[in-house]
Protein backbone atom coordinates (compact mmCIF):
# COMPACT_ATOMS: atom_id res chain seq x y z
CA UNK A 1 0.00 0.00 0.00
CA UNK A 2 3.00 2.27 0.41
CA UNK A 3 3.66 2.63 -3.26
CA UNK A 4 4.53 6.25 -3.10
CA UNK A 5 7.39 5.68 -0.74
CA UNK A 6 9.69 4.92 -3.59
CA UNK A 7 8.74 8.30 -4.95
CA UNK A 8 9.66 11.61 -3.53
CA UNK A 9 7.11 13.05 -1.20
CA UNK A 10 7.86 16.51 -2.51
CA UNK A 11 5.11 17.60 -4.90
CA UNK A 12 7.57 19.85 -6.64
CA UNK A 13 9.48 16.86 -7.86
CA UNK A 14 6.62 15.10 -9.57
CA UNK A 15 7.26 13.29 -12.77
CA UNK A 16 5.60 15.34 -15.43
CA UNK A 17 6.27 15.73 -19.11
CA UNK A 18 9.45 17.63 -19.68
CA UNK A 19 8.78 21.06 -21.00
CA UNK A 20 9.95 24.59 -20.88
CA UNK A 21 9.05 27.10 -18.25
CA UNK A 22 6.51 29.47 -19.79
CA UNK A 23 8.26 32.35 -18.08
CA UNK A 24 12.02 31.91 -18.18
CA UNK A 25 12.18 29.17 -20.84
CA UNK A 26 14.47 27.03 -18.79
CA UNK A 27 13.80 23.33 -18.82
CA UNK A 28 11.20 22.17 -16.37
CA UNK A 29 11.71 18.55 -15.52
CA UNK A 30 8.44 17.49 -14.06
CA UNK A 31 7.73 19.98 -11.36
CA UNK A 32 4.86 22.22 -10.52
CA UNK A 33 7.25 25.09 -10.04
CA UNK A 34 10.20 26.18 -12.15
CA UNK A 35 13.58 25.59 -10.50
CA UNK A 36 15.00 28.83 -11.75
CA UNK A 37 12.28 31.46 -11.57
CA UNK A 38 9.96 29.62 -9.14
CA UNK A 39 6.90 30.37 -11.26
CA UNK A 40 3.98 27.96 -11.08
CA UNK A 41 3.82 25.53 -14.01
CA UNK A 42 0.64 24.16 -15.57
CA UNK A 43 -0.11 20.46 -15.20
CA UNK A 44 0.64 18.95 -18.56
CA UNK A 45 -2.34 17.51 -20.42
CA UNK A 46 -0.52 14.20 -20.72
CA UNK A 47 -0.16 13.92 -16.97
CA UNK A 48 -2.46 11.27 -15.61
CA UNK A 49 -4.23 11.60 -12.27
CA UNK A 50 -1.91 9.15 -10.53
CA UNK A 51 1.11 11.15 -11.59
CA UNK A 52 -0.57 14.39 -10.49
CA UNK A 53 -0.28 13.12 -6.95
CA UNK A 54 3.10 11.50 -7.45
CA UNK A 55 1.54 8.06 -7.15
CA UNK A 56 2.45 5.11 -9.32
CA UNK A 57 -0.34 3.54 -11.40
CA UNK A 58 -1.59 1.20 -8.71
CA UNK A 59 -5.12 0.37 -7.70
CA UNK A 60 -4.64 0.14 -3.97
CA UNK A 61 -4.31 3.63 -2.59
CA UNK A 62 -4.09 4.63 1.03
CA UNK A 63 -6.97 7.13 1.39
CA UNK A 64 -5.14 9.03 4.14
CA UNK A 65 -2.08 9.54 1.99
CA UNK A 66 -4.17 10.59 -0.96
CA UNK A 67 -6.02 13.12 1.15
CA UNK A 68 -2.83 14.51 2.66
CA UNK A 69 -1.31 14.95 -0.79
CA UNK A 70 -4.44 16.57 -2.07
CA UNK A 71 -4.49 19.12 0.75
CA UNK A 72 -0.81 19.80 0.34
CA UNK A 73 -1.18 20.52 -3.37
CA UNK A 74 -4.41 22.43 -2.89
CA UNK A 75 -2.53 24.75 -0.60
CA UNK A 76 0.26 25.13 -3.16
CA UNK A 77 -2.25 26.32 -5.77
CA UNK A 78 -4.60 28.19 -3.48
CA UNK A 79 -5.85 31.44 -5.06
CA UNK A 80 -4.96 33.36 -1.92
CA UNK A 81 -1.29 32.93 -2.71
CA UNK A 82 -1.70 34.21 -6.23
CA UNK A 83 -3.61 37.41 -5.59
CA UNK A 84 -0.57 39.57 -6.18
CA UNK A 85 0.81 37.44 -8.97
CA UNK A 86 0.45 37.90 -12.71
CA UNK A 87 -2.72 36.96 -14.55
CA UNK A 88 -0.91 34.03 -16.16
CA UNK A 89 0.10 32.63 -12.81
CA UNK A 90 -3.40 33.10 -11.46
CA UNK A 91 -4.93 31.20 -14.32
CA UNK A 92 -2.32 28.43 -14.17
CA UNK A 93 -2.82 27.89 -10.47
CA UNK A 94 -6.57 27.89 -10.93
CA UNK A 95 -6.31 25.34 -13.72
CA UNK A 96 -4.04 23.15 -11.62
CA UNK A 97 -6.43 23.33 -8.69
CA UNK A 98 -9.30 22.26 -10.94
CA UNK A 99 -7.32 19.34 -12.36
CA UNK A 100 -6.36 18.24 -8.88
CA UNK A 101 -9.97 18.36 -7.77
CA UNK A 102 -11.03 16.03 -10.57
CA UNK A 103 -8.02 13.84 -9.93
CA UNK A 104 -8.87 13.60 -6.25
CA UNK A 105 -12.52 12.84 -6.82
CA UNK A 106 -11.60 10.13 -9.32
CA UNK A 107 -8.89 8.44 -7.29
CA UNK A 108 -10.71 8.63 -3.98
CA UNK A 109 -13.46 6.30 -5.13
CA UNK A 110 -12.21 2.77 -5.89
CA UNK A 111 -14.75 2.21 -8.66
CA UNK A 112 -13.99 5.49 -10.40
CA UNK A 113 -10.30 4.80 -9.86
CA UNK A 114 -10.37 1.46 -11.61
CA UNK A 115 -12.53 2.84 -14.42
CA UNK A 116 -9.98 5.59 -14.88
CA UNK A 117 -7.14 3.09 -14.92
CA UNK A 118 -8.95 1.01 -17.52
CA UNK A 119 -9.34 4.17 -19.59
CA UNK A 120 -5.61 4.71 -19.40
CA UNK A 121 -4.56 1.14 -19.92
CA UNK A 122 -7.06 -0.34 -22.29
CA UNK A 123 -9.03 2.43 -23.91
CA UNK A 124 -12.34 3.50 -22.53
CA UNK A 125 -14.11 0.87 -20.47
CA UNK A 126 -17.36 2.31 -21.72
CA UNK A 127 -16.52 1.83 -25.35
CA UNK A 128 -15.69 -1.82 -25.13
CA UNK A 129 -18.55 -4.22 -24.78
CA UNK A 130 -17.97 -7.62 -23.35
CA UNK A 131 -20.19 -10.44 -24.38
CA UNK A 132 -23.27 -9.66 -22.34
CA UNK A 133 -24.03 -11.84 -19.29
CA UNK A 134 -27.22 -13.38 -20.66
CA UNK A 135 -28.24 -15.09 -17.42
CA UNK A 136 -27.95 -11.90 -15.43
CA UNK A 137 -29.96 -10.03 -18.06
CA UNK A 138 -32.74 -12.60 -17.99
CA UNK A 139 -32.81 -12.35 -14.24
CA UNK A 140 -33.01 -8.57 -14.34
CA UNK A 141 -35.82 -8.61 -16.89
CA UNK A 142 -37.76 -11.19 -14.92
CA UNK A 143 -37.31 -9.20 -11.77
CA UNK A 144 -38.56 -6.16 -13.59
CA UNK A 145 -41.76 -8.06 -14.45
CA UNK A 146 -42.24 -8.83 -10.78
CA UNK A 147 -41.63 -5.18 -9.96
CA UNK A 148 -44.26 -4.12 -12.48
CA UNK A 149 -46.65 -6.66 -11.02
CA UNK A 150 -46.04 -5.26 -7.57
CA UNK A 151 -46.51 -1.69 -8.73
CA UNK A 152 -49.85 -2.62 -10.27
CA UNK A 153 -50.97 -4.65 -7.27
CA UNK A 154 -53.00 -3.59 -4.29
CA UNK A 155 -50.15 -3.36 -1.81
CA UNK A 156 -52.31 -4.14 1.17
CA UNK A 157 -53.61 -7.36 -0.34
CA UNK A 158 -52.09 -10.76 0.37
CA UNK A 159 -50.79 -10.99 -3.16
CA UNK A 160 -49.19 -7.56 -2.85
CA UNK A 161 -47.59 -8.48 0.45
CA UNK A 162 -46.29 -11.71 -1.02
CA UNK A 163 -44.71 -9.91 -3.96
CA UNK A 164 -43.15 -7.47 -1.56
CA UNK A 165 -41.59 -10.27 0.48
CA UNK A 166 -40.29 -11.84 -2.69
CA UNK A 167 -38.77 -8.56 -3.87
CA UNK A 168 -37.18 -7.96 -0.49
CA UNK A 169 -35.48 -11.35 -0.67
CA UNK A 170 -34.25 -10.52 -4.18
CA UNK A 171 -32.85 -7.25 -2.93
CA UNK A 172 -30.87 -8.98 -0.19
CA UNK A 173 -29.48 -11.50 -2.67
CA UNK A 174 -28.52 -8.87 -5.21
CA UNK A 175 -26.90 -6.62 -2.65
CA UNK A 176 -24.84 -9.54 -1.49
CA UNK A 177 -23.86 -10.22 -5.06
CA UNK A 178 -22.77 -6.65 -5.49
CA UNK A 179 -20.60 -6.96 -2.41
CA UNK A 180 -19.10 -10.19 -3.73
CA UNK A 181 -18.20 -8.43 -6.93
CA UNK A 182 -16.53 -5.66 -4.97
CA UNK A 183 -14.52 -8.24 -3.02
CA UNK A 184 -13.48 -9.82 -6.31
CA UNK A 185 -12.43 -6.41 -7.58
CA UNK A 186 -10.36 -5.87 -4.44
CA UNK A 187 -8.49 -9.08 -5.19
CA UNK A 188 -7.91 -8.01 -8.78
CA UNK A 189 -6.56 -4.68 -7.50
CA UNK A 190 -3.98 -6.58 -5.49
CA UNK A 191 -3.12 -8.83 -8.43
CA UNK A 192 -2.72 -5.83 -10.69
CA UNK A 193 -0.47 -4.01 -8.25
CA UNK A 194 1.71 -7.08 -7.74
CA UNK A 195 2.06 -7.52 -11.47
CA UNK A 196 3.04 -3.87 -11.87
CA UNK A 197 5.51 -4.11 -9.01
CA UNK A 198 7.22 -7.06 -10.67
CA UNK A 199 7.57 -4.94 -13.81
CA UNK A 200 8.21 -7.89 -16.09
CA UNK A 201 8.09 -7.45 -19.84
CA UNK A 202 7.50 -11.09 -20.69
CA UNK A 203 4.65 -12.26 -22.90
CA UNK A 204 3.33 -14.08 -19.86
CA UNK A 205 3.15 -10.81 -17.94
CA UNK A 206 1.43 -9.19 -20.89
CA UNK A 207 -1.25 -11.80 -21.11
CA UNK A 208 -1.72 -11.66 -17.34
CA UNK A 209 -2.15 -7.90 -17.68
CA UNK A 210 -4.78 -8.31 -20.39
CA UNK A 211 -6.58 -10.94 -18.38
CA UNK A 212 -6.76 -8.69 -15.32
CA UNK A 213 -7.98 -5.70 -17.31
CA UNK A 214 -10.63 -7.77 -19.04
CA UNK A 215 -11.82 -9.30 -15.80
CA UNK A 216 -12.02 -5.96 -14.04
CA UNK A 217 -13.98 -4.51 -16.89
CA UNK A 218 -16.38 -7.41 -16.84
CA UNK A 219 -17.02 -7.20 -13.12
CA UNK A 220 -17.47 -3.44 -13.35
CA UNK A 221 -20.11 -3.83 -16.05
CA UNK A 222 -21.97 -6.54 -14.19
CA UNK A 223 -21.81 -4.49 -11.04
CA UNK A 224 -23.46 -1.57 -12.85
CA UNK A 225 -26.31 -3.81 -14.00
CA UNK A 226 -26.84 -5.19 -10.52
CA UNK A 227 -26.59 -1.73 -9.02
CA UNK A 228 -29.19 -0.27 -11.32
CA UNK A 229 -31.75 -3.01 -10.63
CA UNK A 230 -31.08 -2.73 -6.89
CA UNK A 231 -31.72 1.02 -7.13
CA UNK A 232 -35.00 0.27 -8.83
CA UNK A 233 -35.91 -2.24 -6.14
CA UNK A 234 -35.08 0.17 -3.36
CA UNK A 235 -37.07 2.94 -5.02
CA UNK A 236 -40.08 0.67 -5.35
CA UNK A 237 -40.21 -1.22 -2.07
CA UNK A 238 -37.73 0.98 -0.14
Amino acid sequence: MDHQQTHSSNPRELQMARSMCWHCQSEVSGEYFCDRCVKVQPVSKETDYFTCFGFPRRLTIDPGKLEAKFYELSRAFHPDFYQNKSETEQSISLGNAATLNSAYRTLRDPIQRVEYLLDLEAGSVKEIRNSPPADLFEEILELQDTLDEYRASDRTSDAGQQLRTQLQAEQVTLEQRKRDMETQLQQLFTDWDLLQDRGEATSQARSERDRLLKQMREILSNRTYVKSIVNDLVATIG
Binding site: V125, K126, R129, N130, P132, P133, A134, F137, E138, I140, L141, Q144, D145, L220, S221, T224, Y225, K227, S228, I229, D232
Partner: protein
Protein backbone atom coordinates in the same frame (compact mmCIF):
# COMPACT_ATOMS: atom_id res chain seq x y z
CA UNK B 1 -34.52 17.12 -19.51
CA UNK B 2 -37.77 16.93 -21.37
CA UNK B 3 -38.58 13.90 -23.46
CA UNK B 4 -40.05 14.39 -26.91
CA UNK B 5 -43.75 13.56 -27.37
CA UNK B 6 -42.82 10.47 -29.33
CA UNK B 7 -40.62 9.15 -26.53
CA UNK B 8 -43.36 9.78 -23.99
CA UNK B 9 -45.87 8.03 -26.24
CA UNK B 10 -43.70 4.94 -26.63
CA UNK B 11 -42.92 4.98 -22.95
CA UNK B 12 -46.57 5.17 -21.91
CA UNK B 13 -47.81 2.82 -24.61
CA UNK B 14 -44.92 0.54 -25.41
CA UNK B 15 -45.55 -1.49 -28.57
CA UNK B 16 -44.80 -5.18 -28.66
CA UNK B 17 -43.67 -5.59 -25.10
CA UNK B 18 -43.12 -9.20 -24.11
CA UNK B 19 -41.13 -12.14 -25.28
CA UNK B 20 -41.12 -15.31 -27.37
CA UNK B 21 -39.72 -18.61 -26.28
CA UNK B 22 -36.07 -18.54 -27.22
CA UNK B 23 -36.04 -22.01 -28.73
CA UNK B 24 -39.16 -21.42 -30.76
CA UNK B 25 -38.62 -21.93 -34.45
CA UNK B 26 -37.71 -18.82 -36.40
CA UNK B 27 -37.08 -16.77 -33.29
CA UNK B 28 -33.92 -14.74 -32.96
CA UNK B 29 -33.01 -13.20 -29.61
CA UNK B 30 -30.77 -10.22 -29.07
CA UNK B 31 -29.69 -9.45 -25.55
CA UNK B 32 -27.58 -6.37 -25.01
CA UNK B 33 -26.64 -4.06 -22.20
CA UNK B 34 -25.04 -0.69 -21.68
CA UNK B 35 -22.42 -1.08 -18.96
CA UNK B 36 -22.21 2.68 -18.50
CA UNK B 37 -25.80 3.10 -17.33
CA UNK B 38 -26.90 -0.43 -16.49
CA UNK B 39 -29.64 -0.57 -19.11
CA UNK B 40 -30.60 -4.00 -20.37
CA UNK B 41 -32.48 -4.70 -23.59
CA UNK B 42 -33.91 -7.91 -24.99
CA UNK B 43 -35.24 -7.80 -28.50
CA UNK B 44 -36.70 -10.76 -30.34
CA UNK B 45 -37.79 -11.33 -33.90
CA UNK B 46 -39.93 -14.07 -35.36
CA UNK B 47 -39.05 -14.90 -38.94
CA UNK B 48 -41.01 -16.76 -41.57
CA UNK B 49 -39.72 -17.12 -45.12
CA UNK B 50 -37.10 -14.46 -44.61
CA UNK B 51 -39.71 -12.00 -43.41
CA UNK B 52 -39.95 -10.67 -39.87
CA UNK B 53 -43.57 -11.40 -38.97
CA UNK B 54 -43.41 -10.35 -35.35
CA UNK B 55 -41.08 -8.66 -32.90
CA UNK B 56 -41.05 -8.23 -29.16
CA UNK B 57 -38.92 -6.46 -26.62
CA UNK B 58 -38.27 -6.13 -22.93
CA UNK B 59 -36.16 -3.29 -21.67
CA UNK B 60 -34.91 -2.35 -18.27
CA UNK B 61 -33.78 1.22 -18.47
CA UNK B 62 -34.72 4.83 -19.00
CA UNK B 63 -37.57 6.19 -21.09
CA UNK B 64 -35.38 6.68 -24.13
CA UNK B 65 -34.15 3.09 -24.01
CA UNK B 66 -37.72 1.81 -23.78
CA UNK B 67 -38.88 4.09 -26.59
CA UNK B 68 -35.92 3.12 -28.79
CA UNK B 69 -36.60 -0.57 -28.45
CA UNK B 70 -40.35 -0.14 -28.78
CA UNK B 71 -39.86 1.80 -32.00
CA UNK B 72 -37.36 -0.77 -33.24
CA UNK B 73 -39.89 -3.59 -32.90
CA UNK B 74 -42.46 -1.52 -34.81
CA UNK B 75 -40.04 -0.94 -37.62
CA UNK B 76 -38.89 -4.55 -37.73
CA UNK B 77 -42.31 -6.01 -38.36
CA UNK B 78 -42.89 -6.66 -42.05
CA UNK B 79 -39.26 -6.16 -42.99
CA UNK B 80 -37.05 -8.76 -44.64
CA UNK B 81 -33.84 -9.79 -42.89
CA UNK B 82 -31.90 -7.71 -45.35
CA UNK B 83 -34.00 -4.61 -44.80
CA UNK B 84 -33.76 -5.03 -41.05
CA UNK B 85 -29.96 -5.00 -41.26
CA UNK B 86 -30.16 -1.48 -42.60
CA UNK B 87 -31.88 0.06 -39.58
CA UNK B 88 -29.45 2.54 -38.08
CA UNK B 89 -29.39 4.12 -34.68
CA UNK B 90 -29.43 7.53 -36.36
CA UNK B 91 -32.85 6.71 -37.81
CA UNK B 92 -34.10 6.11 -34.27
CA UNK B 93 -32.47 9.30 -33.00
CA UNK B 94 -34.21 11.26 -35.73
CA UNK B 95 -37.62 9.67 -35.30
CA UNK B 96 -37.62 10.07 -31.51
CA UNK B 97 -35.79 13.37 -31.42
CA UNK B 98 -33.31 12.03 -28.88
CA UNK B 99 -30.98 14.54 -27.26
CA UNK B 100 -27.20 13.91 -27.46
CA UNK B 101 -27.03 12.41 -23.96
CA UNK B 102 -29.52 9.73 -24.99
CA UNK B 103 -27.95 8.67 -28.25
CA UNK B 104 -26.44 5.62 -26.58
CA UNK B 105 -29.99 4.30 -26.07
CA UNK B 106 -30.49 4.22 -29.82
CA UNK B 107 -27.09 2.56 -30.24
CA UNK B 108 -28.24 -0.07 -27.79
CA UNK B 109 -31.40 -0.64 -29.83
CA UNK B 110 -29.38 -1.03 -33.03
CA UNK B 111 -27.06 -3.46 -31.26
CA UNK B 112 -30.11 -5.41 -30.09
CA UNK B 113 -31.48 -5.63 -33.63
CA UNK B 114 -28.10 -6.82 -34.93
CA UNK B 115 -27.81 -9.36 -32.14
CA UNK B 116 -31.31 -10.71 -32.77
CA UNK B 117 -30.65 -11.03 -36.50
CA UNK B 118 -27.33 -12.73 -35.86
CA UNK B 119 -28.94 -15.15 -33.43
CA UNK B 120 -31.66 -15.97 -35.93
CA UNK B 121 -29.09 -16.51 -38.67
CA UNK B 122 -26.99 -18.71 -36.44
CA UNK B 123 -29.98 -20.83 -35.55
CA UNK B 124 -31.11 -21.02 -39.17
CA UNK B 125 -27.65 -22.04 -40.37
CA UNK B 126 -27.19 -24.52 -37.58
CA UNK B 127 -30.45 -26.34 -38.14
CA UNK B 128 -30.98 -26.57 -41.89
CA UNK B 129 -33.33 -29.52 -41.46
CA UNK B 130 -35.63 -27.57 -39.18
CA UNK B 131 -37.09 -25.66 -42.11
CA UNK B 132 -40.57 -26.84 -42.83
Amino acid sequence: MAYSDKVVDHFNNPRNMGSFKKDEEGVGTGMVGAPECGDVMKLQIKVQNDMIVDAKFKTFGCGSAIASSSLATEWLKGKTIEEAQKIKNTDIVQELNLPPVKIHCSVLAEDAIKAALADYQKKADGTPTAAK
